[in-house]
Amino acid sequence: MTDMITPKLEIRNLNKAFGALIATNNASLVVGQGELHALIGPNGAGKTTLISQISGELMPDSGTVLLDGRDITRLPAYRRAEVGLARSFQISQLYNEFTAEDNVAMAVQAQSSKRYNLWRNARKDPELREPAKLALAKVGLSDRGNEKVASLAHGEKRQLELAIALSLNASVLLLDEPMAGLGAEESMLMKDILQGLKGQYAMLLVEHDMDIVFALADRVTVLVYGKPIFTGVPDEVREHSAVREAYLGEG
C-alpha cells in the first residue's frame, strides 16, 4: 500500500530519550501527498513527542525527518514554518491577550515580508487582516474575531488553533488531539472541518477518539512505547490483534 503513495513527509528511524525514558524508539513513517494519516497510541506512547520532533521543538537523538525528500532534521523550529510545516497543539497554545483575529493575523504576518516592519500599524493592515478573517471563516469563527482569546470557549480555542495552523499556508498539518476537551457536538463540528480539509493538505492527526479516527483517516499508525507497531487502513487496524492488545484493549 505504501508504494502507491507519493511521500510528502517522511521520518526515518527517529529516536528520542528523556533520560532513562525512551519516548521515541526507532520510529519511521510516511505521510503521503494529501493523505490524512492518524497516529494513535496509549497515553505517553510518544505521539506528542514525535510531533514535536517533526515541528522542530525537540531535536531527535538520531534519525532523519524529510519534507518533500529534503532533510530538515536540524532545521530550527522557527524555520520550519517557512518550509511548509504547521502544527496545532494538544493543549491550546494561543496569545491570550490578543483577539482571535490578532491570533490568526500573527500567523499571516509570520509568512509575510512585513514581519520585521517596525512602523506601520499591524492591526490596520488589510494585507494581514483579510487572510486572517478568511481563515476564521473556514473554521466557523467569523463572528468571534474581535473576542479576546481569554473569553473564548474551549471548543472555540481548539478551532482557533486550527485556523492558525491553516493560515500558515503550509502544505503539512500536524494536528495533536484537535478534539481534546471538546464536547460531542463540538467534536462533530471539528470533524466536519477536518473532513473538508482532506486532500488539500498532508495531515498527521493525533487523536484518541476512535470514531473520528476511523471515519477520517486514510491510514492509521499505532504507536506503543515510542515504536510504530503497525500501519494500515482503519479496517486492518481494527482487526489487528497486537493493536487491540496494546491500545484498544482486547475485548
Binding site: 523550529a77 494561543l94 509570520a110
Partner: protein
C-alpha cells in the same frame, strides 16, 4: 479605550502646563521636579518595551542610564580640560552628544543583550544584573573620572536657538523628547514587529512555531530600549549637571521596574504615571520623615500584592495593555 486616551490627554496637558503652574505659585521647583519625572518616565517607558512587551525582566537597565550620563559628563570633562577624546575634539552640541549617548548605550545593549538572551527566566534576570554591576564597578574604578563620586558637568549641551540653561526651556526639551519617544514606542508595539514581540511574552512556544526567530526580535527590542534609557541618562546628566556611578547601581534598575509596575506594565503610558508617583512618593516621604524607607517598602509590597494592573490600568479601566 476612549477613557484611556482621555487619561493620557490629561496627563500630557498637565505636563504641558507645569511651568505656568510653577509661575503662578511662583515655585519653580515644580518645574525641576517635573523635569525629573519626565526624564525618569523616558527611561521607564524604554524599559517597559522589553519588560512589559517582551517579558524580558532586565535587572540591568540602570547600566544604560549610567552610560548615557557618563557620555555627556566625560565629553564635557575633556572639553573643560581642553584635551581630546581619542583624537576627537569633542562637542557641546546636544544634537551630537545625545545621539552619541544613545548610540553608545545601544552598542553596549547589543553586546549585553546578545549574551544575556541566551539564558532565560531567573538566569536572565541575574545575568543582566551581573552585567550592570560590572559596568557599575568599572565606573567606580574610573578614578580619572571621579571614581565613587563621579563627575560634575559644567554646562548643559547646547541646542541651537534654545537657552537650555533656563530650567523651563530645558523642561520643555525633555518633555518633547519624552513625548516623541513615547510616540515611537507606541508605533513600535503596534507594528508587526511589536505584535511578534508581544507574542513572545504571551506564548513563546506558539511564536516560534509560527516562525518568529526569538533572538532577532528580542535583541532588537533590547537595543532600542537601551538607546532610550541611554537618552534618559544623557538628559539626567544635563539636568543634574552631574553623573555618578549610582546612576548605574542595581537599586536604580529596581526603581525603574517599580515605576513600571506602579504605573501598570505593558502600557506605554503607565510608566509615565509610575515615574511621577514613585518620585513624588519618595520626595514627600523624605521630606516628611527620616525613615521614609519604612513606608516606601510596604507601599511597594502592597501595590504588588493587591494592585496588579497598576495605577494606569486602574484609571484607564478595562484593558490597558497595548
Amino acid at each position: 479605550m476612549n477613557r484611556k486616551y482621555f487619561i493620557v490627554g490629561v496627563i500630557f496637558l498637565i505636563l504641558l502646563l507645569v511651568p505656568f503652574i510653577a509661575d503662578v505659585t511662583s515655585n519653580s521647583f515644580i518645574t525641576n521636579m517635573a523635569t525629573r519625572f519626565v526624564i525618569y518616565a523616558l527611561a521607564a517607558v524604554s524599559l517597559d518595551l522589553v519588560l512589559g512587551y517582551g517579558a524580558m525582566i532586565s535587572f540591568g537597565h540602570a547600566a544604560f542610564f549610567g552610560i548615557g550620563g557618563y557620555v555627556v559628563a566625560i565629553i564635557g570633562f575633556h572639553m573643560d580640560m581642553g584635551d581630546t577624546i581619542l583624537g576627537w575634539a569633542g562637542s557641546n552640541s546636544a544634537l551630537i552628544v545625545w545621539p552619541l549617548a544613545m548610540l553608545v548605550a545601544a552598542v553596549i545593549g547589543l553586546a549585553m543583550g546578545f549574551l544575556s538572551l541566551r539564558t532565560s527566566g531567573v538566569q536572565f534576570i541575574m545575568i543582566t544584573l551581573a552585567f550592570a554591576q560590572m559596568l557599575y564597578f568599572v565606573l567606580v574604578g574610573l578614578v580619572i573620572y571621579g571614581g565613587d563620586d563621579g563627575l560634575s558637568v559644567s554646562v548643559r549641551n547646547a541646542i541651537p536657538g534654545l537657552d537650555v540653561e533656563n530650567s523651563t526651556v530645558f523642561y520643555y526639551v525633555c518633555l518633547a523628547l519624552m513625548a516623541v519617544w513615547v510616540w515611537i514606542c507606541r508605533r513600535i508595539v503596534n507594528s508587526p514587529f511589536g505584535m511578534a514581540l508581544r507574542g513572545f511574552k504571551q506564548n513563546e512556544r506558539r511564536n516560534i512555531n509560527l516562525g518568529y526567530a526569538p533572538m532577532r526580535y528580542k535583541l532588537t527590542a533590547f537595543v532600542i530600549s537601551a538607546a532610550g534609557t541611554g537618552l534618559a541618562g544623557a538628559l539626567w546628566a544635563n539636568y543634574a549637571l552631574y553623573a555618578s556611578p549610582d546612576m548605574a547601581a542595581w537599586l536604580k534598575s529596581g526603581e525603574f521596574m517599580a515605576m513600571i509596575v506602579l504605573g501598570g506594565m505593558g502600557s506605554i503610558f503607565g510608566p509615565i504615571l509610575g515615574a511621577a508617583v514613585y518620585l513624588g512618593l519618595e520626595q514627600t516621604l523624605t521630606a516628611w520623615t527620616e525613615n521614609w524607607m519604612l513606608f516606601l517598602g510596604p507601599i511597594l509590597v502592597l501595590v504588588i500584592l493587591y494592585a496588579k494592573r497598576g495605577l494606569f490600568g486602574w484609571l484607564a479601566g478595562s484593558r490597558s495593555n497595548d
